[in-house]
């Protein structure tokens, strides 16, 4: 009897212990302690967030040391990296700042600066710019859109200049498959969705195991097929269609969007789209490399094409829907470097930012790693490099400094990039330079964006029935106040247009 009771107690304890154990997540602490403000020899010590794609590169320490060599010599600043995954910026950085940790330079990527400004998480850098960032001021005056425009009167962030700039929109397809299906398009040829219908039909007959239309719910890409400018916010708050319009409209009710949905639904029903497309979490890279997908919607720059050829190990052709063009500067598109409220060395941080946008060695060091270790020169004069065996020991995201200073990987795309930039600057939407202030509409925007994320994955992969689901989607958008947001955006836009 007693024995059983004891066994019972042991079982109970065991069960409780289990529930405790399973509750523990692997919350690895930071390996680096907070360093003191002053580095060696009273040199300002700048802590900057280092954005990883989720995994820290093995050779990050070596690159950090090399960065310090440059910064100590040129601007007398010591740099410490604080690694954070690009997916965790929004949750991790506020935690650090809320906890009072020193961060002097923080990257905010692929999300708007607005919430950071509203909560005073970051501070304006105007007072330090003229003295410590003269080259940044020069770039701004020369017309490079490096200042953020979230608020019109203060600079809260310096944008990473991408190369090339602006937006495009096209379909990237495996050249071999395209040729086999009997099509002879060249890079940059213009196509329409109807052209894709014909091509996909032939491709599916030729490669029955593959899916010619590489659409996925995680990355809705309907925006690649038309020119819809969200005016510095997201499409959930209305867009301006085309180059000449000044009317803010509901993107999800436009003919262009409906046309896209019709095509994708047709592709889905004919088996050109993966049946699990709406929910799959396999990466595009895997699907392309193993041949499940034959193509996908893409921005369409030459650099993206070259990278695609290298990663998938096959030649790719880019077919374009749009010419390169410029939108209103969108805070949700790029990466911004900001000065958090907990910065102890803001002046040195701006100095570093200035160097990041002018020093070719520094930018390339951060982008590609060490010469001779992670990359080697193919053509030093043209700035073309190639990967070495150790290339994968240092993988960085192109978020540091002026990306136009980067070497070219594999092949130079300098000519194409220049042509792209020229075309983009010629095709500006009417909203170019404007940025919508979402303050008054925060609650509505949250609600509408929730509706969009509820429906867009299923609709834009063709997984949902258009006749029933699409009207439901539109009805729900309107019930949650999309028309109010559009009216607010239109009013702000009209006001801004008047002052142009």
């Amino acid at each position: 009897m007693k024995k059983w009771k004891r066994l019972g107690a042991a079982l109970l304890t065991g069960a409780m212990a289990l529930s405790l154990l399973t509750g523990c997540g692997g919350n690895g602490g930071d390996k680096k302690n907070d360093a003191e403000t002053d580095g060696t020899d009273g040199m300002p010590h700048v802590v900057m967030t280092y954005i990883t794609a989720g995994v820290e590169s093995a050779d990050l320490g070596k690159v950090e040391a090399a960065v310090n060599e440059i910064t100590k010599e040129k601007i007398n600043v010591e740099v410490e990296f604080k690694p954070v995954s690009v997916f965790d910026i929004g949750s991790q950085c506020p935690m650090w700042i809320g906890g009072g940790e020193q961060i002097d330079l923080m990257c905010v990527a692929f999300t708007g600066l607005k919430p950071f400004i509203d909560t005073n998480m970051i501070q304006p850098m105007d007072e330090w710019l003229p003295e410590n960032g003269p080259d940044l001021v020069k770039m701004h005056e020369a017309g490079d859109p490096i200042y953020d425009t979230t608020t019109s009167d203060k600079v809260y962030g310096i944008m990473t200049m991408s190369s090339p700039m602006g937006n495009g929109g096209g379909y990237m397809i495996s050249t071999e498959a395209m040729k086999a299906a009997g099509f002879n398009y060249q890079n940059g040829d213009k196509i329409t969705l109807d052209d894709l219908d014909a091509m996909f039909a032939k491709l599916k007959a030729l490669y029955p195991e593959s899916y010619p239309a590489g659409v996925m719910g995680a990355t809705p890409r309907s925006g690649m097929t038309c020119i819809a400018d969200p005016l510095g916010a997201t499409a959930a708050s209305g867009v301006v269609m085309g180059y000449d319009s000044t009317e803010v409209v509901n993107y999800y009710k436009t003919e262009e969007y409906q046309n896209f949905l019709k095509h994708v639904r047709d592709w889905y029903e004919k088996g050109y789209v993966l049946k699990d497309a709406a929910t799959t979490d396999v990466s595009l890279n895997d699907y392309m490399t193993n041949g499940t997908f034959l193509g996908y919607f893409d921005e369409g720059t030459e650099q993206l094409r070259l990278t695609a050829c290298q990663s998938y190990g096959k030649d790719m052709t880019i077919l374009m829907f749009n010419d390169p063009h410029m939108f209103a500067i969108s805070a949700s598109q790029g990466a911004y470097w900001t000065i958090p409220a907990t910065a102890k060395e803001p002046e040195a941080a701006v100095k570093l930012l200035n160097l990041l946008n002018t020093d070719k060695d520094l930018v390339n060091l951060l982008s590609w790693g060490l010469e001779g270790v992670h990359y080697e020169f193919v053509d030093k004069e043209a700035g073309v490099i190639n990967r070495t065996e150790k290339f994968t020991d240092y993988i960085a995201l192109g978020l540091y400094g002026d990306q136009r200073l980067n070497y070219y990987m594999g092949e130079s795309s300098a000519e194409e990039d220049a042509a792209w930039n020229e075309a983009a600057l010629e095709n500006k939407t009417k909203g170019y330079g404007f940025c919508y202030d979402t303050t008054d509409m925060t609650n509505q925007i949250i609600a509408v964006e929730a509706v969009v994320s509820e429906y867009s994955a299923a609709l834009e992969t063709g997984s949902a029935d258009l006749d029933t689901v699409y009207p439901e989607f539109i009805q729900k958008l309107e019930a949650n106040g999309i028309d109010d947001i559009i009216a607010d955006k239109q009013a702000q836009f009209d006001e801004w247009l008047k002052n142009q």
Partner: protein, 310 residues
């Protein structure tokens, strides 16, 4: 006299102090882990300003709670949360008790150990892994159910992740499959604690196996059942995020049957990084849960006093 009582007390303290010292780590843990962070509740009522810190941020009343009620989307979400939890509560009580009683009848120790391990393994799995196991069954392209059952029979395939009607059943099934082992162990430990004398007496009176279960085992389990029920009522507004987010693969089409308060708040605020609004939602959740526990306990105290928790 006085000295005598003092001496007695000292002796008593000597006995008691070690026990308190043993309690100390747990108390500290509770204080640091469960009570200290509660000052964060004030975030829900403030307009957060990082430059001055949490405690100096200005109050803004119930502003942060507005988004929860603004769009009228809360209704179905609350309905899902409550209904799923009630279903889990009922099935999660009946099923583990049944299994525990059956287990108790297994006489071979080796077999008992084996089955117990097998039935407990899913409990140790992460929901992320479970979601991929479910996907392996349900996938429209490669899923086991589609490839080996539906397609040979009908020639078509079912896109489970786009069909709402299946999900209430799938989610309940997955949840029970995962948690049954743990519940079973809890009830088993109580059953093992029941004195065999009761059963012997029942046998003498000629009670059948079923009657033994009905009149001995179940009444003895009552306190455990009540405790477990009160505990789960306190979590009636909460939900297993992994179950409702990972397992349906966050498929938008399924939101009307899979979205709970937790996943709704996550999806709505993920892009906004708005800590104040998120904590408003969690404060609301906690308050409702707290009120429900007090009410439930009051009801139980009325019905059977000795079973009330406090």
């Amino acid at each position: 006299m006085k000295a005598k009582t003092m001496g007695k007390r000292r002796i008593r303290w000597k006995k008691v102090i070690p026990i308190y010292i043993m309690l100390l780590p747990a108390m500290l843990y509770f204080l640091i882990n469960n009570y200290l962070p509660m000052y964060g509740i004030t975030i829900a009522f403030r307009k957060l300003d990082y430059s001055v810190g949490i405690l100096n941020s200005p109050f803004n009343g119930l502003e942060n709670f507005k988004f929860l009620f603004a769009s009228g989307n809360l209704g179905p979400v609350v309905r899902n949360t409550l209904l799923y939890n009630i279903a889990f509560m009922i099935i999660g009580t009946v099923l583990p008790i049944t299994v525990a009683i059956l287990f108790n009848e297994i006489r071979s120790v080796l077999a008992q150990r084996f089955y117990q391990t097998v039935i407990l393994v899913p409990y140790l799995m992460s929901m992320v892994i479970v979601s991929y196991l479910v996907f392996a069954f349900l996938s429209a392209d490669t899923g086991f159910i589609n490839k080996s059952i539906v397609e040979p029979l009908t020639g078509n395939s079912i896109s489970f992740y786009q069909e709402k009607i299946f999900w209430p059943f799938i989610l309940v099934f997955v949840n029970e499959w995962k948690s049954i082992g743990f519940g079973m162990v809890l009830y088993m430990s109580t059953i093992l604690g029941i004195s065999t004398e009761y059963y012997e007496a029942a046998k003498v009176d000629g009670a059948t196996k079923w009657q033994q279960i009905r009149y001995v085992t179940l009444p003895q389990l009552k306190p455990t059942i009540i405790t477990m029920t009160v505990l789960s009522i306190s979590k009636i507004c909460a939900s297993d995020f992994g179950l409702f987010y990972q397992v349906p693969k966050n498929s938008g089409t399924l939101y009307s049957v899979t979205q709970t308060i937790d996943t709704y708040v996550y999806n709505a605020l993920m892009n906004q990084n708005n800590i104040a609004m998120s904590s408003a939602a969690s404060v609301l959740q906690a308050i409702i849960g707290f009120v429900l526990v007090i009410v439930c306990n009051a009801v139980i105290r009325k019905v059977s006093k000795e079973n009330a928790i406090f």
